[in-house]
Symmetry: C2
Subunit: 263 residues, 2 copies
């Protein structure tokens, strides 16, 4: 990996007043992440799809997303062995936030890639460590196979996803989410498409841009860390993911109605 790459602070000169500044900065981080060997070429296409859905959500955290994030925090605090699964896009976009979330949720961090190659895995682990991670799972030799996954994602760390009770995934493929579910994991996901297979098969779906939602999730974890198990369980049990997904779809429809002036 190119020296100094992916410690991305200042990038090109997009005016600070640009109405879509945040989105353009995120895009630049991804392209930079691609150039320095973190992101797969298909990850760029996936980011583009996410951008479109984010645009339709008005590029802000909806009420439904905030609700799901709070429930996800409760679930993480209840977990015995939570693991955050990290791919190239997540590492390029928010490595620091991943490390912070892992700390406040007392969770493991595991690199798990759809389009795997050893070099890219190492690059991702390096970026996570540069951002303060003490241990990065998924890069050693203690790997086990999860059934029901065709891609290289089936190989998971024995001490990580394999033994986890709660797994946080993002920018995910549907097959893997289903396989994690079938293996008895509780799945929390960040997915901007409320209709995707991942979104509809996860236990808790946060329909929000990970760059906004992950720090909010960490905040909720901190804030609720003193809550009783009973109170946390209450929050989780009351949650209806399907209903919440429908609310996100309604949010997009409202936005479109305003645009078509047929509200």
């Amino acid at each position: 990996m190119e020296q100094g790459c992916c410690t991305i602070k200042t990038l090109t000169h997009i005016p600070k007043t640009h109405p879509r500044l945040e989105s353009l900065l995120v895009r630049e981080r991804l392209v930079k992440g691609f150039e320095c060997g973190l992101v797969a070429v298909e990850g760029l296409l996936a980011e583009g799809r996410g951008e479109a859905f984010d645009y339709l959500l008005g590029e802000k955290t909806s009420r439904a997303a905030r609700k799901a994030t709070r429930v996800a925090a409760a679930q993480l605090l209840l977990a015995k062995r939570p693991v955050i699964s990290v791919n190239g896009n997540t590492a390029a976009l928010c490595a620091k936030d991943v490390v912070n979330l892992a700390k406040v949720a007392n969770a493991g961090i595991e690199v798990n890639l759809f389009y795997a190659n050893k070099k890219r895995k190492q690059n991702i682990a390096l970026v996570l460590k540069k951002n303060g991670a003490t241990q990065v799972l998924g890069t050693g030799k203690k790997m086990k196979q999860l059934p029901g996954i065709d891609s290289s994602r089936r190989m998971v760390d024995k001490d990580g996803i394999f033994s986890a009770d709660v797994v946080v995934v993002s920018l995910e493929d549907g097959d893997r989410t289903l396989a994690l579910k079938k293996s008895g994991k509780n799945v929390i996901t960040f997915d901007l498409n409320p209709m995707s297979r991942t979104a509809t098969s996860a236990d808790i779906t946060i329909v929000d841009n990970i760059t906004r939602a992950i720090s909010l999730l960490a905040e909720y974890c901190k804030k609720m860390s003193g809550n009783s198990t009973k109170s946390l369980e209450g929050i989780v049990n009351k949650f209806d993911n399907k209903k919440n997904l429908a609310d996100s779809i309604i949010e997009i429809r409202k936005h479109l109605a305003r645009r078509a002036r047929i509200a």
Copy 2:
């Protein structure tokens, strides 16, 4: 450019029964086009955004898109100097269809890039020629500047876009569409986002995937080539682009309603 690259026929082994086969094949063509120097890295993100909107449109040509395509054909047949502007994505996705459209519409083909470099321009021209183009504008020395454009897109061919009355653009940036309009051109565009600046500032917006719509446009051109000027003018004059864009947005809303089961 790698020998034999971008004469893409068979790619990886996606099962023919896959519900999203077409979309996956298009994605592969783009990645392949990137690998062989046709597509810019930002073009992959743009394709991802298009994929999301296409997904929301049900990945099929809507009635509104069909209507706009017919009007675009009439406009092309009325044009004195029509030019089809081609960028990396368009060349990677449908070079053959571009050449065919140029033939039936008696239009010029010009390479015009946002993220320009000479090598990529040459690669695109080569792919167009391999697919039967006899002349590719925008690669010679007779270049003029169009006012109001910051990117390298401002440089246009004196015998091409500079003197054109009707310009067909696709996968476009809003600034350039506005600049073309200000220069007195009639702009036809393929844009999957009915709310984009390009979509809302063009004269005729075809809210459809270019891989489906471009051959339909050529068909209409052939079918209507015997129509009188008066009849063609009637078709163009009756068209309301804003109304048609609203119809496309309504189409997306309907699709979302079905998904949220609140129809």
